[in-house]
């Protein structure tokens, strides 16, 4: 039994990637092992922990529950695409650092993508809005307090700077 393959073209963080992938390959495996973008992490492979969350055409999605072939022709944003072209951390990334919103950092890629979407869609979130937004992202280290504080602070920083997350 040979592995059925498909050619795909996916734009990741603004860059076009082409690959020939097995049809059963998950999007997370494709991003990590075909495209070398290992910043997206895989924590459970059943869609609960949220570490693998990416922005798929701008919407948060579990890359472990999608197939790479489903991404053909679509645009994806991952943790590697969040900093500015000059290599400056985004407001959200900087706020996570400043509020100790990460310890081991394994959940961080999913937190960043989920909260980037939140801050884009809801520029003035409440504490409760932030908690509900990340209730599908598990973190075993921080107890979430630093992450929530960082998201609220990032919202303020974005307003102050008049820019995006």
């Amino acid at each position: 039994m040979s592995e059925p393959m498909r050619e795909i073209e996916v734009t990741v963080n603004g860059k076009l990637h082409r690959a020939s992938v097995p049809v059963r390959m998950t999007l997370s495996d494709c991003l990590r092992h075909e495209f070398g973008l290992t910043g997206t992490h895989v924590g459970c492979e059943h869609g609960v922990c949220g570490a693998c969350t990416v922005l798929f055409d701008g919407h948060s999605a579990r890359s472990c529950l999608m197939l790479a072939v489903q991404a053909n022709g679509h645009e994806i944003e991952t943790i590697e695409g969040l900093e500015s072209a000059k290599g400056e951390l985004s407001h959200l990334q900087a706020a996570l650092r400043d509020h100790h919103g990460l310890q081991c950092g394994f959940c961080t890629p999913g937190m960043l993508t989920t909260l980037t979407e939140l801050l884009r869609d809801n520029p003035s979130p409440t504490d409760s809005d932030v908690r509900i937004a990340i209730s599908g992202n598990l973190c075993r280290c921080t107890g979430y307090e630093g992450i929530v504080a960082a998201a609220l602070d990032a919202a303020q920083r974005i307003k102050d700077a008049g820019s995006r997350a």
């Binding site: 092992h33 910043g39 459970c44 081991c104 394994f106 959940c107 932030v130 280290c141």
Partner: protein, 777 residues
């Protein structure tokens, strides 16, 4: 006066993690990388008749399939003998590298498939046919000790793997004459550690040098190296173990696992790099857990509620094998009395083998259970004697004037348990004040009028931290002036590199950006214990402090020669040694290092040893005891059993604080774990010891919406005299008092229903059933 130590400096770990540039074990890749998948037992207890690999071998892309018979000739011993020594053992139950005769829990490894991709490896693993002869299994630790219980291992006459007693004083006499004796039977459960990153191993064999490099998501790389060298008969210069970035540890990753030795062997025998990444379901059945303890306890008190004695039985679920030792129940037993003056103590401790995943420490390591048992007893005493729960504790806490307080207890290594520092009554008072304990009854009464049920509870803990005897640190300044720090400590997300850089920077110029820290690499330093037991800031911190001071003294001596001034006139600032406050007269750290590297035929400056470097292995045998008090306020919905944490106040004393933000992060993270233990986390097994919670949708971790509505942390600072920095460990503290404090608060909220919590986790269905039972006539 410190400039860096004691401040919340930016973590050195963050930049890579925030940009997706960190390197976890599954981020490592090589050309020609092969992938391993394990065939694991589907039975909790069975004899293995045959393992048929023929169909699996036919899958294109499969490179090898190994059973025990295929690898036995490579192994010095088929068993992994890693247990800490103890005279308490009645049975030796070492794990096999691969099981070939009898399986004793679901998930133990029987065979390994190595293939071109993980997908193919998993396809083939599913085609390996294991023919089992099922045997009766035992899943409950109390039932396991009954005379007619099925035996977890068919070769053994019973299920009592170890037993010991702990205590002091004449409990028979004390309990016979005590004015009050109260009895409680308490069941507790811890569950699974669930670091967000599962385990993983990558191994590569360098044929040119005949060296195996093994990257493992382990908390103990040096111990890992020792076991693999022993099992494969390797010289120690033929194996390097490296811990890459680790996505959380929480205990189970301190244990050595069969996958580590098998991957090392596979890389060598198949002449290709090999990777194995555990998936979450495997994590549920093959990574160690900490599980049920049954505490059958009596407390004797006088009419004022002063403790006269404590005694009872502790039955501990050991799981199917000995993967670490008797250390979890030992830690429980040695912790239970600590916050209080307990004149007499006796505990009978029995470790039961069950057909479940082996048990080893998880964050807190037996201490949360001990605190739960003690604090539930204290609440009982308060209720019976009509005292408030804070007053009964106040009357019994070890008073500050008795510190250092030498208890009659000993650690598992035979060191006396001496409570070295802290003011326990002041800690409790600080927590009560911050929590507005005094105002709670008014809050409760007002809520009750609205039909809402509020409750409050508190729990004290004293935690043994800084397990010795040492953790080496080397500090070396290169000829370009860069400071290189290496330690046997292992980072797993708790900011270990930042901690070491801070301690070293304090002595060597306060420039964090000039320091490179390597942890968890056996090639970087010869010895190491690793990360567990809230020990690394204490033990590695002490060595880093000593080594940095030595390097600083050396740098000042040489600089004094070079600048022709007295050493006292000099200071280290940035990357230079300079005349104090004078940036004109200075010499670079790199120049000093170069001078100390020597020139052929010339004296080494200052008559010093060559090299601007020092390695320290500060020995601290005694543990240092941190303490704290948690106050939990809850609102309980008696109709649904939902418990909402409205306010958690945590007062604690970990001595001097190296980095306030990191300390608070450790506490809140621990607290979240403790809330999970109190209300959500349950690792279920059915009566046949089949696991019934093997996804994160069935096993519930606390998410952001379950955290307390308000968290307050109060720091008290009693520096320990046991290390120069005056620090005590803090990594596990947050978890330890949470189950006890939550249970007390739920009891209080549901006092009108006469509900008494005696087991955790307190799930909504359990709570509703307790309310219904209490309401029944």
């Amino acid at each position: 006066m410190n400039r860096i130590v004691g401040t919340s400096v930016e973590r050195v770990e963050d930049r890579a993690l925030l940009r997706g540039q960190a390197c976890f074990v599954d981020d490592i890749s090589f050309p020609g990388l092969l992938h391993a998948a394990f065939v694991r037992s589907a039975e909790a207890h069975a004899l293995i008749r045959t393992v048929d690999i023929s169909a699996a071998l036919d899958v294109p892309g499969v490179r090898a399939i190994w059973r025990m018979e295929d690898i036995a000739h490579h192994l010095s011993d088929p068993l992994l003998k890693v247990a800490l020594p103890s005279p308490a053992f009645r049975q030796e139950l070492h794990r096999p590298t691969l099981s070939d005769q009898e399986v004793v829990h679901v998930g133990e490894a029987i065979a390994v498939v190595i293939a071109d991709s993980r997908y193919i490896a998993e396809d083939a693993a599913a085609l390996v046919m294991v023919d089992y002869e099922p045997l009766p299994a035992v899943s409950d630790c109390k039932a396991a000790l009954e005379a007619d219980a099925p035996r977890a291992h068919s070769s053994q006459p019973h299920n009592l793997v170890a037993e010991f007693t702990m205590g002091y004083g004449d409990h028979e006499t004390v309990f016979a004459s005590a004015p009050h004796v109260f009895h409680e039977e308490l069941w507790q459960h811890r569950g699974v550690a669930h670091s967000m990153e599962c385990r993983g191993v990558v191994a590569r064999h360098d044929r040119l040098e005949d060296i195996i490099t093994l990257w493992s998501s382990t908390q103990t790389p040096h111990a890992c190296k020792r076991v693999i060298c022993d099992v494969l008969g390797l010289d120690e210069d033929k194996l390097r173990v490296v811990t890459p970035d680790v996505g959380g540890g929480f205990g189970p990753k301190l244990v050595f696992y069969p996958e580590e030795v098998i991957l090392a062997l596979a890389a060598r025998e198949l002449r290709a790099p090999v990777k194995w990444i555990e998936d979450r379901r495997e994590h549920f059945v093959s990574t160690t857990q900490e599980r049920d303890q049954l505490w059958d306890m009596q407390i004797a008190v006088d009419n004022d509620g002063k403790i006269l004695g404590l005694r009872g039985l502790l039955v501990h679920d050991h799981g199917a094998y000995t993967a670490r030792g008797v250390n979890v129940p030992y830690g429980s037993a040695a912790a239970i009395t600590l916050p209080y003056i307990v004149p007499c103590f006796f505990l009978d401790i029995k470790l039961a083998v069950t057909n479940k995943v082996p048990v080893t420490p998880i964050r807190g390591a037996g201490q949360p259970q001990a605190v739960f048992a003690m604090e539930r007893l204290m609440d009982r005493v308060a209720r019976e004697l009509k005292l408030t729960t804070d007053e009964v504790r106040r009357r019994n806490l070890v008073p500050p004037e008795l510190i250092p307080y030498t208890t009659p207890l000993k650690t598992r290594g035979g060191m006396q348990v001496v409570l070295d520092s802290g003011d326990y009554p002041a800690t409790q008072a600080a927590a009560l004040e911050k929590a507005d304990w005094a105002g709670f009854r008014a809050r409760q009464a007002a809520a009750r009028k609205e039909g809402r049920y509020l409750g409050i509870g508190l729990a004290n803990y004293v935690e043994g931290t800084g397990r010795g005897p040492f953790e080496p640190v080397s500090v070396r300044i290169g000829e370009n002036g860069r400071i290189h720090v290496a330690s046997g400590a292992a980072a797993m997300g708790q900011s270990t590199k930042t901690m070491l850089a801070q301690v070293v920077a304090e002595q060597l110029g306060c420039d964090m950006s000039n320091i490179t820290v390597v942890t968890g690499d056996t090639a970087a330093i010869d010895y190491g214990m690793g990360g567990f037991n809230s020990r690394q800031a204490v033990m590695a911190g002490a060595s880093a402090h000593a080594a940095a001071k030595k390097v600083r003294a050396k740098a000042l001596t040489v600089a004094a020669h070079m600048l022709d001034v007295g050493e006292q006139a000099l200071e280290v600032e940035g990357r230079h040694v300079r005349l104090k406050g004078n940036d004109e007269r200075k010499v670079g750290l790199g120049e000093i290092a170069r001078a100390l590297a020597g020139l052929p035929g010339y004296y080494v400056p200052g008559g010093l040893d060559p090299g601007l470097e020092a390695t320290e292995r500060v020995i601290i045998n005694d543990m240092t005891y941190a303490n704290g008090t948690a106050v939990v306020e809850v609102e309980v919905d008696p109709e649904t059993g939902l418990v909402q944490l409205t306010h958690v106040t945590f007062a604690h004393d970990c001595g001097n604080v190296l980095n306030p933000q990191i300390v608070e992060g450790q506490i809140i993270g621990g607290m979240a774990h403790g809330i999970g233990n109190a209300l959500y986390e349950w690792m279920g097994f059915d009566e046949n010891a089949q696991p019934v919670t093997t996804t994160l949708a069935e096993y519930l971790l606390v998410s952001a919406t379950e955290m307390p509505m308000k968290v307050d942390i109060v720091h008290l600072t009693s520096p320990t005299p046991l290390n120069e920095l005056g620090i005590k460990g803090v990594g596990e503290s947050g978890v330890i008092p949470m189950t006890a404090a939550v249970a007390a608060a739920v009891d209080d909220a549901l006092a009108p229903f006469n509900v008494k919590i005696t087991r955790v986790p307190i799930t909504p269905p359990d709570l509703v059933s307790l309310i219904e039972k209490a309401a029944a006539p």
